[in-house]
Symmetry: C2
Subunit: 341 residues, 2 copies
């Protein structure tokens, strides 16, 4: 633009070191054939000038940046944050760098476009590979490594990491059923994600297994946020015969539901039991501890990186779809009810 002094380039380094550009490039990339003497002189100039090579230029030339891209829908959702942390942990250990793109309002109309845009922006250009978390689109057009965490319902094209949603949800229902609950509400999440669908299906199947007829009114679908959790719970509470328990497909919905229940003058777990899914941090605070299913979100991020790095290095993948374990965490939002015959 107008920045006269601009940033200093490889050429400035070359000039002040009295060598050619290519020599500087060599020391930059730790090539073998540079005399120790020259090497040190150049290094000295580099630090003196505070030179850093331009990521843009480098990645353009050498198809290898050592950075991994991460596209997340939102920074508000704890799920994403936890995944990011896991990704981060892996990145550090594997000595890659991480660039996160977060695509604005997760509910925005143009979200699919932005997702695609950012994948193409990062992938192959500035990043060697990209991880996408809970995408709204089924597929991406990219020729570079891509791994999806909690994939879209119809997504099979790319390797993905997903929790054992079905098993986890079954164990939640089992727990509730074991406590004597028979009329159980369900608050679902984004119906475009495999995770949400599988949890819902598990809810239905558990009921069927227990010979409890399905009441469609008991199923309310939100979008995994606290707000819709609240709304869904309101609807469920307004039913002629209230359920004795609610299974929320994630903790944020569960927290919203608890709010709604309290707001209605009821108490958890005295009047209604609540179980969530995710085991986010807040879960241990809310209402004396939210009973939930841990899905080890951090590990999902970690594993996603492992897979991606394998892809980048052209190594074979163990599995195309990696399933992560889940575990019931019993706290204080569920209680047994006496079963009436």
């Amino acid at each position: 633009m107008k920045n006269a002094k601009a940033s200093i380039t490889i050429r400035d380094v070359a000039k002040t070191a009295g060598v050619s550009v290519s020599t500087v490039s060599r020391v930059l990339n730790d090539k073998d054939d540079v005399s120790v003497e020259t090497y040190e002189r150049v290094q000295k100039v580099i630090t003196e000038l505070g030179y850093t090579s331009s990521l843009a230029a480098k990645s353009m030339r050498s198809r290898k940046t050592n950075v991994i891209g991460l596209v997340v829908p939102d920074l508000k959702q704890t799920f994403c944050l936890k995944v990011i942390k896991g990704v981060h942990r892996a990145i550090e250990q594997l000595d890659y760098d991480l660039l996160v793109y977060t695509g604005g309002n997760s509910l925005a109309q143009d979200r699919p476009l932005r997702e695609q845009k950012y994948v193409s922006l990062l992938n192959g250009s500035i990043a060697d590979g990209t991880i996408v978390v809970t995408p709204t689109v089924e597929t991406f057009s990219t020729d570079y490594p891509l791994v999806i965490v909690d994939p879209h319902l119809d997504s099979t094209e790319f390797p993905a990491v997903i929790a054992t949603n079905r098993i986890g949800a079954m164990s939640a229902m089992e727990y509730l059923l074991g406590l004597g609950h028979r009329r159980i509400g369900f608050i679902g999440g984004r119906p475009d994600l495999q995770s949400a669908i599988r949890r819902l299906q598990a809810y239905k199947d558990s009921l069927a297994q227990a010979n409890i007829p399905l009441d469609p009114d008991l199923i309310q679908i939100g979008d995994f946020t606290q707000k819709t959790g609240y709304r869904c719970a309101e609807k469920i509470l307004a039913l002629p015969t209230r359920p004795t328990a609610i299974f929320a497909a994630n903790d944020e919905s569960a927290i919203g539901a608890i709010e709604a229940i309290n707001h209605a003058g009821l108490k958890v777990p005295e009047d209604i039991s609540i179980i969530g899914f995710d085991n986010i941090e807040e879960a241990s605070f809310v209402n004396g501890g939210l009973t939930t299913i841990d899905q080890f979100m951090g590990d999902m991020g970690y594993v996603a990186v492992e897979m991606l790095v394998n892809l980048i290095q052209n190594k074979p993948l163990e599995t195309h779809l990696k399933r992560m374990p889940t575990k019931l965490i019993v706290r204080n939002t569920c209680r047994a009810i006496k079963v009436e015959v």
Copy 2:
């Protein structure tokens, strides 16, 4: 590497559309002088081929990427998260894109290096400007716009956003003093940050104003984390005469302190009053609600973006150092004590 088909470039588009590369570039950048006919033909080819321009190449050539960089130390600290959210909100409205770099273990030895590395990596190369949150270094070598949120103690070179830490901390102390507390402990934060230093100074000054002699043993310095909050509180509790209140320089330390207090068999606020700083989300849950000072972290991020964009657009800055308001939030972790004469 080996990707034979590689990604498709502007030249592929040009070739299949039967025009020159520059024409494609023109439609890409919505230049005026392209015939509607050509424009549409090229657009068609672009979508057909699924072409996306390489960020790397573009940014290299045109010193303008429309992306803003954000360098945060950590994703574990709520402070950072809140700032990010604010940044995000601003970014959306201003129609920029956001690339976040998060520098691994915030306690790592090489953190200063990584900070600098990422600033140079992003700034001027792939980002038009960068925001750095709670840096460990005083300065950065960059010729492009940079704004700091909660700057390092000695940092004055770059524009910055900071809370009215002194005023906020004074009001916390005022509140405690007003409740009759005379022996007040202090848990400090990272001594390299202006925010931490100012809160500590306010603690000392308040005491002086109230004619209460300073007891150095009552001051313990941590690093703004829950863990050190716990440790610092332990030390304070082990004192011969225990304080009746503790002012923790941020909420995470305060939460750690509460844990330590509970662990020691004492209760908050019955035995000891606690006040924090930040008003993070968890604050409203912990111990029935943590009394704290809100520093509107989200707004700090928002304002930082505004400043940065002004810088990018070469507009004058209102102030070099923007001070954000703070506000006392009274909840349930402080109580009045009877003053003995």
